[in-house]
Every structure is written in C-alpha cells, then in structure tokens.
C-alpha cells in the first residue's frame, strides 16, 4: 500500500459516468461511475459475472454501452472505436489470453507498435529508407519490451507455443508497446502460482513506477489489497464501493457480496 501518496490530489485520468450495459435481460453494468487518477494502481473486483470484463470491453470500445460513457484525459471516448481508444492511450489484456498465435512473440509486440507508427504499403513495397528506419525502431522497441517482461529468450517462438505465464507476460508487453497512459489487466494472475504472482506484482509495480496508470481486475484479494491504491467493487453490475483497500476490506456490503455469491 502507498499511504504516502495522497491520490486525491492527482488529476483524473479516466472517469466512467453512469455506464450501463445489458445483454438481453442480463444487466451486466448498472450506471457504474468511478474515477481513476493518474499514477494509481486501481483495483476492480467483484464476484464472477459481476460485470468487470464488461466494464473493460465498454471502456476499450469493444462493446457499445447502452448508457453513459467515459471521459479520458478530460475528453470523451468515442464509443465503438477500439482503435481510437488504443490511440488515446488505453491498452488492455484479456481474461482468456488473446495473442496472435501463429506469429512470433516478437511480432506480437511489434504489432503493438502499430498505433504509434506510420509506414504504409507503398513504403513497404519500395522498401524506402524511412520505412526501414521505422521498422528497425519497431523491432528494437519490441525487443526491449520483451526484455522488460523477461521473456526475451522466447522472441522467435510462436506465441501459441509459449507457456501460460509467458503468454500472460507477452500480452502485457504487447499492451505496453502501444505506449498506454492506462494499462488495463484482466485477471493477470489467474492460474499463476505464488512465485509467478510475486513476479507479476513486481512487474506491475515497475510499470506504475514508469508512470503508467494501472487498472487491475483480479480475484486474488491479497494481491489486490496489497498492490492497489484504491479499489472498486462491482456486484451484479452495480458499483458497491470505491475506496482505499483498508476501507473496502472491512465494508459490510463487500463481505456480503462475496459471501452471497
């Protein structure tokens, strides 16, 4: 926990405003409003089916919310435009890892550079000097990121052949390649053992240390409470509480939500 930083003084990075989403009869999100401040590690928890992933999907433009919306760095996010969300600086990982299986680990991260680079087909066909320079820079940056998440030795292996933990790291590297202001991780510790979780924790703290805000969905309550500056709890699509871990942990409604699930 970082009691020494008082997050309320930091500017708001992302504000969700009354976000609603339903699937047929299922109300996956009910007017959820919350704010994430710059430099935070912000935890989003809740029982299975509470709507956490749906929140991510709405924020990153994969789903169109049925109501409400998001402000990012003070301006609204366009709904239904995942590429714009990424360009604005929101990157994510997926709960059920989604890598480009038949591409190498390095190529996966290089794809992450897409949104920050420019080369087009004409340049590629003529192999122009500018294209070559950009290509070299992409490769170098991608390699550096593989080193950063500690899987550089797997650079040339196909993503689908990496181990589970390596795949999780690769997904984070790919997300980081887009130079996000906000990195959203959907259950990154799922299926990891204690050592791996420990390493992941260091990685996340390192990322925050580099100035990136982190939004973390996680079922591992110990990890969340230990790592996050603030935590929001969703239950049946509704926000139960948004506060520092110490308060959240002892909130009666939160305990009920978890016991009731």
């Amino acid at each position: 926990m970082s009691d020494n930083t008082n997050p309320t003084h930091k500017p708001v990075l992302l504000a969700a405003k009354q976000v609603a989403k339903h699937f047929g009869g299922v109300k996956a999100l009910r007017d959820v409003s919350l704010t994430i401040r710059q430099g935070e590690i912000y935890g989003l928890i809740g029982p299975n089916g509470a709507g956490k992933t749906t929140f991510f999907n709405c924020m990153t433009g994969l789903y169109i919310p049925d109501g409400g919306g998001f402000d990012f760095t003070g301006t609204p996010l366009v709904a239904d435009a995942p590429d714009q969300a990424a360009a604005r600086g929101i990157a994510r990982t997926f709960q059920n890892i989604r890598l480009f299986g038949n591409m190498s680990a390095l190529e996966n991260v290089m794809v992450g550079r897409h949104v920050r680079t420019r080369a087009g087909v004409i340049g590629a066909m003529f192999n122009s000097a500018a294209t070559r320079a950009e290509e070299a820079a992409i490769r170098e940056r991608a390699m550096a990121l593989l080193h950063y998440v500690d899987i550089a030795e797997r650079a040339d292996d196909l993503a689908k052949n990496l181990s589970y933990g390596e795949q999780r790291r690769l997904e984070i590297a790919r997300a980081l390649a887009t130079e996000p202001k906000l990195l959203c991780l959907d259950e990154p510790a799922a299926g990891m053992n204690a050592t791996e979780t420990g390493e992941l924790r260091e990685l996340i703290e390192g990322i925050r240390g580099d100035g990136t805000t982190v939004l973390l969905i996680e079922h591992d309550v110990k990890l969340v409470m230990g790592l996050c500056d603030r935590v929001a709890v969703l239950d049946y699509g509704a926000l139960v509480i948004e506060d520092v871990p110490a308060v959240v942990q002892n909130d009666q409604r939160v305990i009920e939500a978890y016991l009731g699930a």
Binding site: G24, T53, N57, L62, Y63, F94
Partner: protein, 307 residues
C-alpha cells in the same frame, strides 16, 4: 396493375421454394455456425433423382400420381442420406477447426457433388416429366397453374410441420438448446452430434422437396442449377436473420417477391437500360444492403462477438 398481381403470384411461388431451401441453411448455421455451401447441390440432386425415377416409372406405364409419389420418396430419402453423409464425412472431423476450414471443405463438397451429377446425368438439360395436370386458373386477371398452387400449399404445410417439430417435440427443443449454447446443451444431456445430424437430415429432406418443386415449376433441370438457387436461398436466410426458422421462411418469400417485382419493373425503373436478365442481381443487392444496414437480418437478434 395486372403485371403487379401476376408478379406477386410468381414471387410467392418462387419464394416458397427459396424458403424451403433457406430453412436448410438456417438450421445448420444456427446450430453449428457453418454455411453449408453444398446445400444447393443437395437440391439439385433431389431434382435430378426425381426426374430419373419419375421418368422411368412413367415410361413403364405407372400413373403420374404414383410415379410422382415414388419420385418424391426416393429423392427425399436419397437427399437425407446425402445430407447425413455430408456431415459425417466432411464436416464432423472439422468441428474444432478454424472457421474457414469447414467453409472451404463445403466448397469442395459442392464441386464434387456438381461434377458427380454431371458424370451421372450429363451436361444437358433434363426435362421434368409431366407429373402434374396442366391446368390453368385465372382469377382477377392473374394466371396461375396447378403446379404453382401445389407448390405454395405444399411448402406452407411443410413449414408448418417443421415449426411444430421444432417448437413442440423433444428433438426440436434439443435443436434450439444447442443453437443457443452448445456447451450448456451438452451439459444438460443433449447429444449434439445427433442434433447436428438431425439438422442436416431435415434440411436435406426439405431440399429434396424444394428440388422437385423447382423441377416441376421450370420443367427443366441441370447439374449446375443448385449453385444459384443455393446462393439465393442463403441470401433469403440472411435476410430473415440467419439461424431463425421463421426468418428463413419470411426471408424466402420476401426474396421471391423482390425478385419477381424487380424483374417485372427493372426495365421501367432504369429507363430500359437494364432488362429482366438482370433478375439474378437482385438477390445479391438485397444481400449486400441487408448486411450493411441490418446484418442480423429482419428477424434476427443482435449478437456481438464475445470479447
């Protein structure tokens, strides 16, 4: 006005046939997410089989009604077996393959069936034997034949029975459950292999029926006839909302009407620039427009990819 009513009647007849074929596409797609490209070929095999059976029985002196019944039974059984075999041999081994794989297999099966038919029946057009009385009716200035009446009534009856089957029987319930969520249906004890086979078999029976209708209506058949028919029927299924039975029926009829009216008026609409031989483009125009503005079809629910 006469042209208008006449084209409505023609469209209704053609549309009933589309609807029967579209049901086959929609059932298979709804349950396993596959466009069964070879379905149009099943229709073609149905027509050609019926021609051969009815033709030879008639030649042997059997009365038309009996010959027709025998042709219907043989063609239907053969097509059902074909549909079942198609799924077993070609598609089932690919259940977990990437999406494009079964699609390409389906194209391959369609080519195989077409060329088998060509080897068996030859390149030439086959004439449909005179099974139905050549009676013409006239009502309010609109002409129609006995065959047209039979087609509309028979397909209406068939669609009604199918609806009852799907909404009133255990098999139908299993089919709907599998279409909703194969994994959950499996957990609840539904044998998904059986359900999928059933969809293919029922779809193929409808295809055989439709095939005989097309043959009787146009009095002519050909080994390549299944392709365009299948494509249009698929369009009808998409128009109605793929995976939705009622949608397929409505889509089929609607497409038949659009085509008939389009063909009747295209000359006027384009100032004589395009003639009725452009009839075939309507289906694709409809397809593209529907997919652009309402990809889930007229009756389909909106679905998104799960992320």
């Amino acid at each position: 006005m006469d042209i208008f009513l006449q084209q409505i009647v023609n469209g209704l007849v053609q549309g009933s046939i589309y609807a029967l074929v579209a049901l086959g596409y929609t059932m298979v797609y709804g349950i396993m997410g596959l466009i069964n490209f070879a379905h149009g070929e099943v229709v073609m095999i149905g027509t050609l089989t019926a021609i051969t059976v009815a033709g030879s029985l008639l030649a042997a002196g059997m009365p038309p009604a009996l010959a027709g019944l025998a042709a219907l039974i043989v063609a239907t059984l053969l097509c059902m077996a074909l549909g079942w075999g198609l799924e077993r041999i070609a598609y089932r081994p690919l259940r977990n393959a990437p999406r494009l794989t079964p699609l390409i297999t389906a194209i391959g099966m369609s080519i195989i069936l077409q060329n088998l038919a060509m080897i068996l029946w030859g390149r030439n057009y086959q004439t449909f034997p005179p099974l139905f009385p050549k009676v013409n009716f006239e009502l309010a200035g609109v002409h129609f034949t006995a065959v047209q009446v039979i087609i509309v009534l028979l397909s209406a009856a068939t669609m009604l029975s199918l609806t009852l089957l799907v909404y009133r029987t255990k098999l139908g319930m299993a089919m709907r459950a599998t279409a909703q969520n194969p994994a959950v249906a499996g957990l609840m004890g539904v044998n998904s292999n059986r359900v999928i086979s059933a969809a293919f078999v029922i779809g193929s029976a409808l295809a055989a029926l439709a095939g005989i209708m097309v043959g009787a209506y146009y009095e002519i058949a050909h080994y390549q006839m299944g392709f365009m028919l299948g494509l249009k029927a698929f369009t009808a299924a998409v128009l109605g909302g793929i995976g939705n039975l009622l949608g397929a029926m409505a889509g089929g009829i609607l497409l038949g009407l659009i085509e008939a009216l389009g063909a009747g008026y295209i000359g006027d609409l384009t100032g004589g620039f395009l003639g009725s031989h452009y009839q075939d483009i309507f289906a694709f125009m409809v397809l593209i427009v529907v997919l652009m503005f309402r990809p889930s079809g007229l009756f389909g629910e909106k679905t998104g990819d799960r992320a």
